[in-house]
């Protein structure tokens, strides 16, 4: 805990009350953005099938800082420091992002550690070659603990066309997917007749080449469709859509089938089981403003299912705003399936409940 106190003091002292007025800021050479949050979350599991405590606590301190000099130079950093208590207490500091950028007309150059998401899927991705690993049960990374990759990136944006060339280091990828090497990736992204479409090619040193494409499109007032198609030793396909009812209830559904290759295979899944098929459904409502007393509530229910081994995990999230700075949340997970031979049945508990509160400055 010793590193928290000085870090907290520095961050709190350094935080200005409100960003300066844009008119004044436009005339200033340097513009800054900063945020700071503290989250405390307690978790309890039921039916634990592994040695260890059935409760835990996470104290998470996060800060981000970005500055821009004359619309030309940029610096951005995002830090997450946390202590996790479960039997024992462990502390860890993660630099989620830290990079500098230079803008020269239509060209942007960036060097450093950066979170990048090229996939258009919500719970799954086939084309997110540089994305952090995505967990279908927590696709939004609700505690914001994902880390970026060290990379050098050149972006050229002209009109509605964007060209991105990236060299990504092996450092983080190696940790999550052993055996991978540096990645060189290129993406072309454009907007044509409402289609936000991208084509991606990539090459991992020592690994197979990758090619893919994705798009999103909004139809009418309420429907969004998205899809990803990728090839890397085999085809990975994602089809998804989102529907928003006039009441504000939003439903997201996705079907995803990756090949069972080293790149796409989830941790713990044997190579012998063949191609997998997944389904994802999420129903959510943010701001239940129509119901008296529920104006500040957000709720979401989701289900991820492996259609081959018939295992699934149900997830429920609820949150309540408390004034301008506090947010209380609850998260529950209930995996089900054959305990010895299914993806979600192998999760070593039958239910997990987390309750937390976040202070955001």
């Amino acid at each position: 805990m010793s590193f928290f106190a000085p870090a907290l003091a520095v961050l709190l002292l350094g935080l200005p009350g409100e960003p300066p007025d844009e008119q004044a800021a436009a005339e200033k050479a340097i513009q800054t953005r900063e945020s700071f949050s503290v989250t405390d979350e307690g978790s309890s599991v039921a039916g634990l099938r592994a040695p260890g405590s059935d409760w835990g606590n996470l104290l998470l301190l996060q800060s981000s800082f970005a500055c821009k000099w004359k619309d030309r130079w940029r610096f951005s950093s995002s830090l997450a420091a946390f202590t996790k208590t479960q039997d024992e207490t462990h502390a860890q500091v993660r630099w989620r992002e830290m990079y500098v950028g230079l803008s020269a007309g239509e060209l942007d150059l960036t060097i450093g550690k950066r979170l990048q998401r090229w996939g258009t899927g919500y719970a799954f991705t086939a084309t997110g070659i540089l994305d952090p690993p995505r967990t279908a049960a927590d696709p939004t990374d609700r505690l914001s603990l994902n880390e970026g990759r060290e990379m050098i990136q050149a972006d050229w944006i002209h009109s509605s066309h964007a060209f991105n060339l990236v060299w990504g280091s092996a450092g983080l990828l190696e940790r999550h997917r052993p055996g991978m090497r540096e990645t060189v990736a290129f993406r072309y992204n454009t907007l044509i007749s409402g289609f936000d479409a991208a084509a991606i090619v990539a090459y991992d040193r020592g690994g197979p080449a990758f090619a893919g494409a994705n798009f999103t499109r909004v139809l009418g007032q309420a429907v969004e469709v998205h899809s990803e198609l990728a090839w890397r030793e085999g085809a990975a396909v994602l089809l998804g859509g989102k529907y928003t009812h006039s009441s504000g209830v939003t439903i997201i559904a996705e079907l995803y089938t990756p090949p069972n290759t080293a790149y796409y295979r989830p941790t713990g899944m044997p190579p012998s089981v063949g191609r997998q098929h997944y389904a994802y459904v999420r129903t959510s409502k943010s701001r239940l403003r129509e119901l008296p007393g529920w104006k500040e509530w957000d709720v979401a229910l989701s289900l991820v299912a492996n259609l081959d081994d018939r295992s699934h995990i149900a997830v429920c999230d609820a949150g309540r705003r408390l004034g301008n700075h506090l947010y209380a949340h609850a998260h529950a997970e209930a995996p089900a399936g054959k305990r010895s031979a299914s993806q979600y049945g192998m999760i070593p508990y039958s239910a997990l409940i987390s309750v937390g509160v976040r202070l955001q400055m």
Binding site: Q23, A162, D196, G323
Partner: protein
């Protein structure tokens, strides 16, 4: 006076009224009124929204809006709980950039509506482009002579299906508005309370939005820091990861 005279007089009045109505170009009126919220072809403005519940302030939101032309809007969310979020509107296409997902998420027009004041109220300010205007009548609002025009959505990115809009006869300055859903339900009303002079232009300073479903709710929108600014096109590209 003959027996026919009153009838002729009434017909004359009716003709004069219809002719008067037809002589008012509703679309031109709306274009003029748009100038009170869009002072320059390319500009920045800061918008503060304070929500009140039963007369008591319960939350506050702060946005930095960057507008380029009539089709490109970039909204940065600055209040503590929303920091790091951005809304991008390119014509009818919209994306929400959430710090949790580190990527722009495509959103539908219906997803944009929330709260007393919606994102559309902040980012969609060119009514003349989004709506077809029809002249309805002349009417007094308190002591102000107003034209009343009806606005009907003509593109899918329009925030509302129908608006009744009161504009001051003198200079087409907006006085109040009523917003309706497709079903005809009256959901919100807005009054334009204060204006400010910026570089010789009259621009809105404060409006109040009244929730017609939750009668005890209202939102006050305050505009500050209006200034002409040049923005690079890349700020408005949906694929750009770096939004600040």
């Amino acid at each position: 006076m003959s027996r026919k005279s009153p009838l002729l007089f009434c017909c004359g009045l009716l003709v004069a009224r219809v002719a008067g109505a037809q002589s008012v170009d509703a679309q031109a009126l709306v274009e003029r009124s748009d100038a009170t919220r869009n002072g320059w072809p390319s500009y920045g403005v800061r918008v503060r929204i304070s929500n009140y519940e039963a007369g008591k302030q319960d939350e506050e939101h702060l946005y930095q809006v960057s507008q380029k032309g009539t089709e490109k809007t970039h909204v940065e969310f600055l209040s503590p709980r929303e920091k790091g979020q951005y809304l991008l509107m390119l014509g009818d296409d919209m994306w929400m950039y959430l710090p949790d997902t580190s990527r722009p998420v495509r959103i539908t027009p219906l997803e944009r509506l929330s709260g007393n004041a919606s994102n559309g109220d902040v980012a969609r300010t060119h009514y003349a482009l989004d709506y077809e205007a029809t002249y309805l009548r002349a009417e007094k609002v308190e002591e102000t002579n107003c034209h009343v025009v009806e606005l009907k959505a003509k593109r899918k990115g329009s925030t509302y299906q129908r608006i009744e809009y009161w504009l001051r006869v003198e200079d087409a300055r907006p006085v109040k508005a009523e917003f309706y859903l497709t079903s005809g339900k009256h959901i919100k009303s807005e009054t334009f309370d204060e204006f400010q002079k910026v570089n010789g232009r009259t621009l809105v300073r404060r409006t109040t939005i009244y929730d017609c479903i939750r009668k005890s709710s209202r939102s006050v929108m305050e505009y500050s820091g209006f200034a002409p600014r040049e923005f690079p096109d890349k700020l408005f590209h949906q694929g750009r990861a770096d939004r600040f």
